[in-house]
Subunit: 285 residues, 2 copies
């Protein structure tokens, strides 16, 4: 949970250690070459650390959000299953995602406009300095950066979107409203016909009860609710779930050729990621 | 790497901590309710710890081998893709696998005989005490426990097998010979026609170069070489690779209905696990 301790007796013994608890009795540790940033913004603790293996790592509220080395596992799987299932996405909104990794993936498509709605301006400012892809994405003339509460943005916008990506942090802190029934009801009215929502949904190992509750909630709102999974080495348990929501479109109807430059996602990964482990079979339709 | 340190400042601050480095600057930590066992056998350090979340955890040479909570991810994926691709497996040998998790999965099938070839008798004896599935599997009259070097067993046995499972530890310590060219050449002569080998192959994140080298080596020996992946929460990076080898049988020809009682494996997981991430595409045929 972002608490630091000195670790003795190892080769890197001079290095400070940062850690994230996954359960009360287990988690990941990172030895830190440098603390690049630490502040308490109006919303949360923002920290950036340099690690020899993962490069720069962003922590929000003590939880790993992204790292230079493994960001693509998460950002590609949050973005491409939605875009590749839509024949001609023109407008996309990202709720959260202030580190810009999802925006970078979205801008690989010939879309007209991408909104990045991040509640905490300081996350943007800090990530511009430490995650090189963000500046480039913000310079793209198709990007519109909105500093706002995602829930309020969705409640008041008159735009309609082809793809909505919910790149929230966990259901604690400023993101908690982005996990509830009302938010998912409001999202529906912002979708163009044939539109697709993909949201990050947590760990199959550590958040299974929460995932089951979310599945029940979402099936009352959307006719098409499909969970899918993929690895994310720096997230709890090393794999992560996402959920695909639509009123009419199925997630395995891959419509296009994927953009170049991807490292994890392939159309075969897309088609197969929706196969759920035995213990999760009851989550999807 | 199994080194212990006192962790201060957390709720479980009274608990000893055990850790495994995944890179020189990162890894997993476990707070330990009790140290159940620790010894230096003739081959390696054997430790068993009790953790509140993962239950009993076995470390060999400082590396996590298995835990009560998440053992099924690894043992199901090492076993069922081979068995389910074979129409009538009768004889199976497990090289390594002294914790008995793989044997437990193998015995779900109506086979005639299963050999468990473990080099370190002490691993068997310790695991019988702390991993409840092992005793039951050893009592099964189809099981033959062999305390021997897997490499020597394969070189000298006159048996032929339908399925060979390589449940080795990493290519350091007593398992190193189980990762080389000569061993895989010898295995070939122990396979019945239509036989299948599956071996654990390491982490796609931390051992990618080693995986590529192994792919080159294996393709010179076997006409059918297919890598596949699945999550293992307590292993480095949280996902793991396996390799399917055969002279004639393809891994996606699922022949049977899976046995009951599985938690991770399904026939859909089987068919989809062979879809490799973009960065691993060149590993398989």
């Amino acid at each position: 949970m972002g608490d630091m301790s000195l670790k003795h007796g190892s080769k890197n013994s001079e290095l400070i250690e940062i850690r994230e608890n996954h359960s009360p009795s287990s988690g990941l540790f990172f030895k830190i070459r440098r603390q690049l940033h630490s502040e308490l913004s109006s919303f949360q603790k923002i920290e950036v650390f340099e690690n020899d293996f993962f490069g720069n790592i962003l922590f929000l509220g003590g939880l790993v959000q992204t790292s230079e080395k493994d960001e693509y596992f998460y950002h590609e799987m949050l973005t491409h299953p939605a875009f590749m299932s839509h024949p001609a996405p023109e407008k996309c909104v990202i709720i959260g995602g202030g580190d810009g990794g999802t925006l970078k993936e979205v801008l690989r498509y010939p879309i007209k406009k991408a909104w990045l709605v991040e509640i905490d301006r300081r996350v943007i400012e800090v990530c511009q300095k430490y995650f090189p892809w963000l500046n480039e994405s913000l310079k793209d003339k198709r990007t519109e950066l909105v500093t706002a509460d995602g829930n309020e943005f969705i409640a008041t916008t008159e735009e309609k979107f082809d793809v909505i990506l919910i790149d929230s942090s966990e259901p604690v802190g400023p993101s908690s409203v982005l996990h509830g029934r009302e938010f998912y009801r409001k999202l529906k009215k912002c979708l163009n016909p044939g539109g697709i929502i993909v949201a990050q949904a947590g760990s199959p190992v550590f958040h299974l009860e929460h995932l089951k509750e979310k599945a029940r909630l979402l099936k009352n709102i959307y006719p098409i609710v499909h969970f899918f999974c993929g690895p994310v080495p720096t997230y709890p348990g090393g794999s992560w779930c996402y959920v695909f929501l639509s009123e009419s479109r199925l997630p395995r109807d891959v419509e296009q050729t994927p953009p170049s430059g991807l490292k994890y996602y392939t159309t075969e990964i897309h088609r197969t990621a929706f196969a759920l482990p035995g213990f999760m079979k009851d989550l999807s339709d």
